[in-house]
Amino acid sequence: MSAPWLPLLRRLGWRRLRQEPFRLALTVAGVALGVAVYLAIQLANTSAVRAFRNSLDAIAGKTHLHAAGGDAGIPEELFPKLRAAEGVEKAAPVVQQTAWLRRPGPGEERWTRGAPSQGRAALVLGVDLLGDAAFRGYRAEGALSLGEMLERMADPRGIFITRALARELGVGEGEWIEAEAARRLRFRVRGILQPAGLAEAMEGRVALLDIGVAQEAFERLGRLDRIDLILKDPSRLEEVKKRVEALLPPGVIAERPVRRGEDVEKMLASFRLNLTVLSVIALLVGSFLIFNAMSASVVRRRGEIARLRALGMTARQVALLFAAEAALIGLAGSVLGLGLGILLARGALRATTLTIRNLYAFLEAGRVDLDPLLLGAALAAGTGVALLSGLGPALAAARVAPAEGARELGAGGVGGAPNSRFIGRTLEGALLASAAAFALARLPAWGGVPLAGYLAAALAVAAVALASPALAAGGAALLRRLPGRALWLAAHGLGRNPGRNAVTIASLATAMAMLASLVIMVESFRRTVAVWTEQTLRADLYAAPASRFIKGSGASFAEEALDRVRGIQGVAAVDGFRSLRVPWRGEWISLSAGDFGVLAERGRLLFTEGDSAGIVRRARERGEALVTETFALRFGLKRGDSVRLPAPGGETALRVAGVYYDYTTEGGHIVVDREMLRRVWGDRRLTSMAVYLAPEADRARVSREMERALDPSMVLISNAGLRRRVLEVFDQTFAITYALEGVAVLVALLGVATALSSNVLERRREIGVLRSLGLTRRGVAGAVMGEAGLLGLLSALLGGAAGAALAAILIFVINKQSFGWTIRYGLPWAPLAGYLAVAAAAAFAAGAVPARAAARAPIAQAVREE
């Protein structure tokens, strides 16, 4: 069976394809783009996660178990106890902080008014090197011995930085660097770490201090962030863990170091799934391209197929011939896509890293991990999708009867002109899919994953595809009645091949629907956040340590700073805010505290029900807590519920006084009055402050005086600046989603170009006839371009409408179930119309090459009978 068709594939398929290099190139390019985007996202995702995991591994070293207490840290007295615990082989104290490092500049000015823009975020680890070598690997340049390193670290201003940081900061041994953590600090570089062990974490954004220096520098006297333990027998981890836990005070937990990675990975899962789904769209749109190309090929080669069949080729062999052709195109595209994907992956990784840093945790990841498994999967996906989409046309080819002559050439799409039954059935399918999507959208999440939501979204996309034939036919019928020569001809073109044009519309409309839904979702989200910041950010000035701009930084400052600011003339009130990571119900949560007095009087929170001042005042009087919407959803809490939080003196019961909207963190907060945090948790530190000015106060003067009163590491932000910053972070986070969508639309546009060039090829004779009837070249080109424009327009209309529905699913189902944020749905008319118009215009432009080809075709040859 294989004997006849393999050489045929080369002789017939390839020779045909070679005659149409433009279409072949477009098809291959479409598949390549789809594969590239899919691969780039997968590579970026896994590289980011792997970098994160590797960093955690490098930081944890050989640690089997550690004790940690979140941002409050753990008392250092615990160290000898844990080291002496049965089953513990070695113990290592760790103070860990993220900080901005930079080379001291000429000016002593504050970093910037808005946000720290200079310097490098780095992980600064305070360790006892004497015992730490058993946990983490260290290699210093100059082959320093442990003792030599120790001697240098005994310098109360000595720091070790990695080679990577030294290069980035432009400093060498013996030079000074500045670090912004709880305070602005100066350190002398006493050694350069080679990339090994710990120094490999965070792509080398690591600095090392002696534990004592770290305690002093980060104002952690008497406290440690972690105690790492190596066990005598790691197989008895659970047993030793229990023994260690018995020694721990409330609020301190023992966990395996991989736990933190697992937590972040869990948080990342939704984000990764979103990106993966988006990246698959481009691949699917690419599959439409293959379908188009193969359908056109079958139509054009009907005569040839009939002759082959007449010569004795079986229907099966014909099908195989075409399927193999599709698979080969897919393979070629996939191979190209691999190369392109690897190139794109760097950019994608940068964007992904930025998003992770904005939303989840400090991460440096610069190396794309070329996982052969992912490369293989992308190759298989590209080829497989191509094969699948070539299957329909291949089967259509198999149905060509041997007796069919060349005469019936060009009578419509695959298997002839689509009849009204076909259109009716697809339309029914579209309605059914829409109804199912609507029903599914009401189902709850499954194990935290909005499966039904994703299914609903998929069905909505399917509905778009299914509605396309009706739209193509209907659009063509409608447009034919409109005046205008070019449009009239274009409408005829559209109606001439509704089957294939429907596929083109389906792919373009799908891409546009995704684009529209993202635009609607992101814009709605952005507006929600903007409105929220306007309504809830009411203070005039904010101040926070620069290192708070690194996600997950535990930096804090002493509350005495509040008094210094209060004393400034023109300051009406100051609200000190504290946020602590504490363990609760086996997870890390953010326990926060603000001055409820100031908040009730001057601030405002948007509660799901009830008025802000009243709820806050009551919470203050009764010692109750407020929780954010995301927190409430995460733990299934509602107003009136009671929670028990661990505190140094034991557990403290807190009633939930209200649930409020908040868009600052993913996991949400539980908030208490600061007086209560001081009393119950004994915490006297702050993470930020909000300053309210008196009505007649001079803001510029107050901020100048605040700068004098506060440590230079404190960043001052105006109300407008903070709001701007919130939206900046927001935009960064969604940059990659837009990029992905853009690629899907691009692939769809390639589809428009290939579909049109197929049409032009098939209608060579028709065009010749029109030309012979006196249609100018420009007229021909205009008709083709008009057809492209119509495709774009119809796709934009369908895509826009479907996008609005899809956005509703994204906002009310997927996002709500994945992240817990309430987003107010709103149609951003201007940007939406803009994007769709650009896409439609691009579709119009995509007709240019086929239009030129059509216009240039010689008439005599086209009309000549053969």
């Binding site: 060009g410 030309r771 007229g779 005599a860 009309v863 009978e865």
Partner: protein, 228 residues
Amino acid sequence: MAQEVARLEKAAKTYLRGGAPIRALAGVDLAVHAGEFLAVTGPSGSGKSTLLHLLGAMDTPSEGRVLIGGRDLAGLDDAALSRIRREEVGFVYQFFHLLPTMTALENAALPLILQGKPWGEARARALELLARVGLAGRGEHLPRELSGGEMQRVALARALVPRPRLLLADEPTGNLDSRIGREVLELLAALTREEGVALVIATHAQEPLALASRRVRLLDGRLAEETA
């Protein structure tokens, strides 16, 4: 002598086919006059179609000149050539070449629409011509709903709708059985006569020869004989 409608002067045409030059016409002098019925005969490949394409401004000669209505086509741009095709020449093909998605009426009206005439005017003229080719009432049919003879009548109507001065027909009966072919041919001759249109038919059938007012024979791209 009636007015000259079109003229070939030493017109030659060479194609490249598979890399090798094929001389389709080798210096032909021919004038077509108003009202005449010229039959061009010759074996397959003798250059009949090429001759018609040159006369119809659909192709340009490799050597020599083509004049239509006294104007030399050399040096005319696409717009001018298109205009000549649209207004001065009609064409009828062996395989009809109707646009499959358009109705008979739309097909017939197409040249006027291409001329930018309003639909109403185009429609009236197309309906008139359809009636004259015997297809009154069939205007809303799609080509695939018509027989071969009917399709060729639509094509004939389409060719005459713009009131050309020259009608070129390339084997117009080649794809029809002899009875239908004869009917179409007679219609063609009658209509061109009525409208005063010069008719040039390329054919190797016998019937046209009987009706033709003049016959020329092409052999290997040259005019071999001319019969008055």
